[in-house]
Amino acid sequence: MSARPTHALRARNGWGGWAPGRGAWAPLLLSAALLGAWELYADFAGVQEDLLPAPHAVAAALWNNGGLVWRNFAVTAEQVVLGLALALVSGFALAVAIHLFPLLRRAVYPLAVGSQAVPIPVIGVLLVFWWGFGIFPKLAVIALICFFPVVVATVDGLAAVDPEQPKLLRTLDASRWQAFRFAELPAALPAALSGARIALAVGVIGAFIAETSTPTTGAYSGLGREIMTDAGGFQTARAYAATAVLFAFAIACFYALGLAERKLVPWKIRPRGETA
């Protein structure tokens, strides 16, 4: 019986085993190999530069348009972060409501599923009509795209509490609220965070959809708009540069959530091979 093997726990987290330092060479090596292959293909396969720019051309476009890309990125990043926050809060709240009121589950679940099939451009005009050309229509679109995995994962997590647990809590005189607060809510957190990871993975493309389906006024309207304009205007290298930024941003968000997970659900972080 070991008392507190904390340093061993810190080395891994259950879902990826990624940590800076040890093991960081693997994704870098793979990225380098893919970039090398892309470079060779673009240089020697006779593909037009407007169709597929080589990595060095993309890097040059990024370097030469740093200010423009950065300002558009700031717009998009704000949308992604706020939109995801909105999706997490509303998704979690809806899941809790569905859990506590079974009637609501029957009423709301089919509509939540259906909402995922709505093509955003159909409602984009309406959102702009309601909220104008600012950030709010974008946040609504991102939240609509991202809330669903949070709801599904959290509802399942809340229902996964050991069926014996409520009995124990009742003999300890716990109220319904206390049973929720002491047992169900913490038990559902890991599942909710799994939902958040899926939401995050679609959040960046959600921002792209939001930008391209609801018009914006102002000098910088986000990377999504920029990519669409560049791709249509034979600025393919710059479109790829902006895409590379979105690519890196999604990865950064993903690992930021991983760090948050260590703080929020430390009991789930175990040495590899150890289970419940």
């Binding site: 014996e164 003999t171 300890l172 206390q178 175990r270 419940a276």
Partner: protein, 273 residues
């Protein structure tokens, strides 16, 4: 040896303290001296008819305050149902139940994985709106006494099976209720640990006296720990024997008296299937 069966048309459940409405034989004197009183309790699961599964049929038993009542019986004889009836988690279909406020220690420890051992032990206090600091302090004060010192901040997955059961028992104890319902508390432990834990439970109850209903399938455990052993038949459970255990504590499994009583309980189980 089998107790008299009494079925009542109207199931009733009353607290032992204010048991004025209870059955006729419950005069003031006996009420005061009884922490658990079951009379003709029956419980059937499922629809009445072909699919009905009777779990308990006319079970009567009593325990005085401070007594340890052990209930033994084969698997599926309704032992867990009995404890849930005593704890008020289920209502009987027939018969009457009058007991002191009871707390359940389920078969599995059900410790919350996100709480440290001391916070798990203090759960009942937190539910009773005791502040976190005070709840921890009160749980912490009992850790050394229960052989848990040094494990206050360990999470459940870092504890061995025996230690987890100790924390679960401490959680039960700290509920402050006079009646503890232990559902096979050591059933999942290996034989050596189980022996240690039986000794530990006996010692702990000597220091922290409570009324206990201990459900077990281990006849020897019942004889080692209990003041009285109730033997239940196979499903549907009914009382087939009651043994008074008037032996000095601590008892040892090799004592001649312990062995003899164990044999008597096993004989009752073997002949009255």
């Amino acid at each position: 040896m089998a107790t008299e069966l009494q079925s009542r048309a109207q199931p009733s459940r009353t607290g032992a303290a204010e048991g004025a409405t209870a059955d006729a034989e419950g005069d003031a004197r006996t009420k005061k001296d009884v922490a658990v009183a079951l009379e003709g309790v029956a419980r059937t699961y499922g629809e009445h008819g072909a699919k009905a599964v009777p779990a308990l049929a006319g079970v009567s038993m009593r325990a005085a305050p401070g007594e340890l009542l052990a209930v033994v019986g084969p698997s599926g004889c309704g032992k867990t149902t009995l404890l849930e009836l005593i704890c008020g988690l289920q209502a009987p279909d027939a018969g009457s139940i009058a007991c002191a406020p009871a707390v359940l220690m389920p078969q599995r420890d059900l410790l919350l994985p996100w709480l440290s051992a001391v916070d798990n032990a203090a759960l009942a206090l937190r539910i009773a709106h005791v502040s976190r600091t005070e709840a921890r302090a009160r749980a912490d004060a009992l850790f050394a006494e229960l052989g848990l010192d040094g494990f206050q901040h360990a999470r459940p997955h870092e504890l061995s099976g025996g230690m987890r059961q100790r924390v679960a028992f401490l959680r039960t104890l700290l509920s402050g209720k006079p009646l503890l319902c232990l559902d096979e508390p050591f059933g999942a432990l290996d034989a050596i640990t189980r022996g240690e834990m039986q000794e530990w439970l006996g010692g702990t109850l000597a220091r922290e006296p409570r009324t206990v209903v201990l459900v077990t399938h281990d006849v020897e455990e019942a004889v080692l720990l209990a003041d009285r052993v109730v033997v239940l038949s196979q499903r549907p459970g009914r009382v087939i024997a009651q043994l008074e255990i008037e032996l000095q504590r601590p008892r040892h499994r090799t004592d001649a008296d312990v062995v003899a009583l164990r044999e008597r309980a096993l004989d009752a189980l073997a002949t009255r299937r």
